[in-house]
Amino acid sequence: MKVLLSWLNDFGPFADPSDESSVETLADEMTALGLAVESIDRIGSGVDGVISAKVLRVEQHPDAAKVRRVWVDAGEGQERHVWCGASNMAAGDVVALATLGTQMPDGRTIERRGILGIDSEGMLCSETELGIGSDGSGIMILPADAPLGVAYTEAIGLEDDVIFDLDLTRNRPDCWSVRGIARDLAAHRRQPLASPPAGADYVEGAERSVPVALEAGDRCGRFTTTVLSNLAVTESPEWIARRLTSVGMRPINNVVDASNYVMLELGQPNHAYDHDAVSSGLRIRQAKSDERITTLDGVERVCVTDDLLICDASDAPVGIGGVMGGADSEIADSTTEVALEVAWFESMGIMRTATRHALRSEASARYERGVDPAVADDAIQRFASLLALTCPNLVLHAGTVDERGSALPSTERSVEVRVSAVNRVLGTEFIADDLPPLLDRLGLRVAIDDDRMSVAIPSWRPDISGEIDVVEEVARMFGYDRLGRSVPRAAVHGHLSAAQRRRRELRRVLVGLGVSEAMPNPFVASDTMALAGVDGPTMRILNPLVAEESALRTSLRPGLLAAVAHNEHHRREGVSLFEIGHVYPPGDGDLPDEYEALCVVLAGRNAHDAVAAWREIAAALGTGAMIDQGTRPGGLHPTRSAVLRSGRDVIGVIGEIAPDVAGRFGVSERVAVFEVRLDGILASEPRPASHRVVSRMPTSDLDLAFVMPDDTPAERLERALRQAAGDLLVSCELFDVYRGQGVDPGTRSLAFRLRLQQRERNITDADIAAVRERCIAGAERLDATLRG
């Protein structure tokens, strides 16, 4: 919210607008009170070097039609000569002259620059050039009676002022008004809250009422109407118009401006109706379904029964309660009598209506947060006294109608507060007597009874309803920066869990393998999973920002494939990427079966590379899984893929992306991939490996090549050989795979090197021969025959 320093000072004083440091101090003070100052704008300080000057005469440039020679007098009684491109000035006008050396807001410096050998001794300025208005069409003409040779700001009566833009929190509706902010400041400085200069006197008139039928008392807690007559619609006093303008409101006329002024100053929205239109009464009721009203902004609104309407005597809606008046409710230039509505609406209802109609007004913004239910009387009087400034014969009629509804909060609320509770939360050592001075100027009236205090809550603080709310006020007024600083003694030592350590280890291994981490979006389009060949339903995002993000992924593959495609398109083929992230397949209940997964993609590589990488990772984490090529995972290359099994459970898939899937994602490279569930892997930390003494006995290598049908996995043969070698085995490696001449089609030769060792003695030829026999026998059971 924007607040003007001069306006605040009506309740102050708080700072001198022309004193930089006092403005800074005030800004810091507001921030320290929780009224965060987002920006500080200075107005009226003007551009140094621009002074008022009177036009003496104007001459056309002999050759250039658009250039004029202007002679001006800046009050020194001597002529100055300037060239000027505008033509809206005439002899006798007072204008703004930028003298030589002036630094203009746009960065230019005014220099003595001649045309046709004749110097220009300055420049005449437009409003735009001075940064004070939008009119750049001609030279700014100052009031004819303005003194000459003075700063143009002084000449037009522009005073130094400061606009603070505050970022107010939701719990402080009272600060959506100048008076509310001033009250906090005054309380903090322990200075009285001053009364602003009164407007003008008005006449109390005979009773004249606009009856109110309040039918929705649960939504409208208070509805008052007051009749004012003998007014004339005209312009507002200049200072009112200027204050409204500076905080972003357009001055309309004296009646509307007074209404807005009261709202900004006291936080009480209000509305002035032409009396003739509503003299028979107003009715406040919930809307009928599909009832229509055109609001002030010219938009026709279709209501639902949850909307609240203000209707005239014929039951025609004249406004949406607390949000915006109807287009027909505006006063006319000929209006001489108004009915002023000052009401209190329940905030949640206003919020629903404002949201539903996407219609946020200054009024709804205040009602949504909560308006002081007791400020109506002040608002009515303030409106009258401001309007009387332009309407000296204004009559405020007795007979204000003040209807109350059940929604009106009690204005007699109090909270029990224990001094011990204050100290317990804040770590302070207050005694009871310390607290009233901190609280009373906020309007919180404290009655002390030993440790217990009874704190009466003012009507403008709906946010305070419990002990802890008062504790916060104490902290705020005492100053957060004055509370001590200590560090709690942790009874536990800080550490990462085993799973968290293992996750870090995993990332380090992946990086070591040359794989980089990507973070694709977990949101996917409805058909993305199907396109990736991942079966099964997905959880839906019910209010997605865009349709491409309307489902939750059930696999990490699509995101990484898109990343591979992106890099390919930027001539970076062959990227290796991984993601550790959550996937969200639907579960039995409303919540998905969310779990953490790892996916690795190796562009330009084949399934063997995927297996090699997986084995490296599995070894590093002390885990493992069986590669079951008998089950074909969806989306992967049908003859180059497998599922990873841990016992009976499928924990992942491995192989290559199916060529058609890769194509759908814009990937032209071969992509090796594996994706595994991480929850189990990270949770089961293996026991530390026990040390085995490295034997000093000699080792002997045994090379064996077997021919085995293609459909039997090499891994099974390896397992058989390992079993056959038993305790003698040091290592077993597949070092050659051969298909071709000499080996039957449908089979291949697999060559293994077994390194053997007797741990306690020299290995003998007999030992090696025995292993060899057992290996051959084991291989035979797999239909593998020793290659001769």
Partner: protein, 336 residues
């Protein structure tokens, strides 16, 4: 005899000196072996009388020793030459090195995340985690934002369902809008004292721009124990500030509002140049939140704080557009 020995020795030494380096290994057998001239002379010693044999024998031994030494020297020479030849032949311009496999890189968010975890672990915290798809109860209700609470509207929640026909919010399932649900889960899961931080991914219905992503990351802290005060909060924030940013940085708290803490504060970090960085929100855990976590606010008190991880990541490296971190462009990833 002596003369014969001397001449045989000279002959052998000449042979060693002139031997080609390739055949140096055969010299021993040739010149000192059984069939060598010198060995042959040894056999003849027997025919000499005792005195002569002693003199001749000694001379012969000396001769053989000197030849053997010459052979060793020649062999060493050969090895040196071979080594030099090899070294010469193996000359390599090291700057011709072709690139080997590229090292992988961790995501910027992960780097910041782990760094933050490390700092908090050092301050005595453990790290808690929670699900990303949450219930309304954990995300709002238990955090003192009951149904219809106005603050809910500020979170721009993304709602989740099993079918597109559901109305947003109908099932009470949503993508967590902050990491605060982990506070509730932690309180329900363990008795105080609780000292946890909860880093994690959070979601808002926010159009991406240079400083906002609909999917981003936060870290949340929660301390609950007996007699935890707001001074403990301020002290912990200060300790974190110095540990993470450096000793020349300080912090301040200023009043703010969050439904789940009271008193609430924003915390700012003061840079050495005197400027302020708005970092995050914090406050004393609201009594209603303690109750939702199954704790009696008369017995226990606590504080909580939270801030964005993504912002830490981009700030550290001068990344001007947060979206760049999520394009997964290898040319970006490899920079860090």
């Amino acid at each position: 005899m002596i003369d014969d020995i001397r001449s045989a020795c000279d002959e052998a030494l000449a042979a060693v000196a002139s031997a080609h380096l390739d055949v140096v290994d055969q010299l021993h057998a040739e010149l000192l072996g059984k069939r060598s001239h010198l060995s042959g002379m040894k056999a003849k010693l027997g025919s000499l009388d005792a005195e002569e044999r002693r003199v001749a024998g000694s001379a012969l031994n000396q001769a053989m020793a000197s030849v053997s030494a010459a052979i060793d020297e020649r062999r060493a020479q050969a090895q040196r030459a071979a080594l030099e030849a090899r070294i010469d032949a193996e000359r390599l311009d090291l700057t011709e090195a072709p690139p080997v496999g590229r090292r992988g890189h961790l995501h910027l968010v992960t780097q910041a995340w782990e760094q933050l975890e490390d700092v908090f672990v050092g301050l005595g915290f453990t790290v808690a985690e929670g699900p990303e798809v949450e219930t309304d109860w954990y995300n709002f209700e238990a955090l003192n934002m009951g149904e219809g609470h106005p603050a809910r509207g500020e979170f721009d929640t993304l709602f989740v369902g099993r079918s597109d026909n559901e109305l947003p919010g109908e099932s009470g399932i949503l993508l967590r809008t902050h990491t605060s649900p982990v506070q509730i889960r932690a309180m329900l899961a363990q008795e105080p004292p609780i000292h946890i931080v909860a880093p994690g991914r959070v979601f808002r219905r926010d159009t991406p721009d240079a400083t906002h992503m609909p999917v981003f990351h936060q870290i949340e802290g929660l301390v609950v124990d007996r007699d935890i005060t707001m001074a403990d909060l301020a002290g912990t924030i200060e300790a974190f500030t110095r540990a993470f940013f450096g000793e020349e940085f300080t912090s301040r708290l200023r009043p703010s509002y969050f439904p789940f803490t009271e008193p609430s504060a924003e915390f700012d970090v003061r840079r050495p140049d005197g400027s302020w960085l708005e970092l995050g929100g914090c406050g004393m855990v609201h009594p209603e939140v303690l109750r939702a976590g199954g704790l009696d606010p008369e017995q226990w008190s606590g504080f909580a704080f939270g801030f964005g991880i993504d912002r830490m990541a981009v700030m550290r490296h001068g990344v001007s557009d947060i979206r760049d971190m999520y394009v997964n462009d290898i040319r970006f990833i490899e920079q860090f």
